[in-house]
């Protein structure tokens, strides 16, 4: 479904479904905004529908404490803008195109993601 959604956006509109870029493009306001807002509105409506029907898919059980989520969010926001992509843009879209930049980005963020999650586990045990 994620692949189909990205394919729909690509084939109809010619754009890549990179979530951090879509949000970042709205925040900077110097790029085409309308299609980005429409896509994020779709995410919102999809999110609301799922929350109403299958709330278990959004379970926060076992999630990190709030201060950690705060730090994590800042790193994710800054890092995805600096590196020009996240799991969707580099991961799904970029690897589908066999983009060298995306391959380097995915290998890097997978490695540091595994490293930080595992390190946190070791430290807090």
């Amino acid at each position: 479904m994620i692949g189909l959604a990205a394919s729909l956006l690509l084939l109809a509109h010619g754009r890549v479904a990179g979530i951090s870029g879509i949000l970042g493009g709205i925040l900077t306001r110097n790029e085409a905004v309308a299609w980005r807002v429409a896509f994020l509105a779709g995410l919102a409506v999809g999110g609301l529908a799922i929350a109403a029907t299958f709330p278990a898919t959004m379970s926060m059980a076992g999630s990190r404490p709030l201060p950690l989520l705060l730090v994590s969010g800042v790193l994710v926001g800054f890092g995805t803008r600096l590196g020009a992509g996240c799991t969707s843009g580099h991961g799904v879209c970029g690897l589908s195109r066999r983009s060298p930049r995306s391959l380097v980005a995915v290998v890097t963020f997978m490695a540091t993601g595994f490293a930080s999650a595992t390190a946190l586990h070791v430290v807090t045990r």
């Binding site: 479904m1 994620i2 692949g3 959604a5 990205a6 690509l10 084939l11 109809a12 509109h13 010619g14 890549v16 479904a17 979530i19 951090s20 949000l23 925040l27 900077t28 299609w35 980005r36 995410l43 919102a44 409506v45 999809g46 999110g47 529908a49 799922i50 929350a51 959004m58 379970s59 926060m60 999630s63 990190r64 709030l66 989520l69 730090v71 994590s72 969010g73 800042v74 994710v76 926001g77 800054f78 890092g79 995805t80 803008r81 020009a84 992509g85 996240c86 843009g89 991961g91 970029g94 589908s96 195109r97 060298p100 890097t108 963020f109 540091t112 993601g113 930080s116 999650a117 595992t118």
Partner: protein, 143 residues
């Protein structure tokens, strides 16, 4: 208008796909990124599946002169492999491992209304704003 409706529909489908696959549950993502506590590799299959489907779309795209509804192809650059790309991916990965949340699932699960996702999305937008400020400062320093 038709174009925006398609972008909207793509967003709805994307959200449902993320939720169904388990990406909107931070504990499941952490279970993938932290192999010490009974590794759950299922999310790797989600990514491989999405890439498999989406790669076909690129085969189709390569045979079309322009997108079906509107506009022109806008593919991100394939090069360079520079410090920004690498540094950004390092920071994003560390943040992802600490929180178990990445941008798509955050903007989807936000609408479940949990305090966790509200805090995360606010921090993520703050991080993006911080980046814009940092970039402007860099541009000034470069004169």
């Amino acid at each position: 208008m038709r174009e925006l409706a398609i972008c909207f529909a793509s967003g709805v489908l994307f959200a449902v796909g993320l939720a169904v696959s388990g990406m909107c549950q931070p504990a499941k993502v952490i279970g993938f990124l932290d192999p010490l506590d009974g590794w759950d590799p299922s999310l790797a299959l989600v990514m491989v599946g999405a890439i498999g489907v989406h790669a076909l779309a690129y085969v189709v795209a390569s045979r079309l002169s322009r997108p079906l509804v509107n506009g022109v192809w806008r593919f991100p650059a394939d090069w360079p492999l520079d410090r920004r790309l690498f540094g950004g991916a390092v920071l994003f990965g560390v943040g992802w491992g600490l929180g178990g949340v990445c941008p798509g699932p955050a903007l989807t699960a936000l609408w479940g209304g949990s305090i966790q996702m509200i805090v995360f999305v606010a921090a993520m937008v703050g991080g993006m704003a911080l980046f814009e400020g940092w970039e402007r400062a860099q541009a000034r320093a470069d004169g």
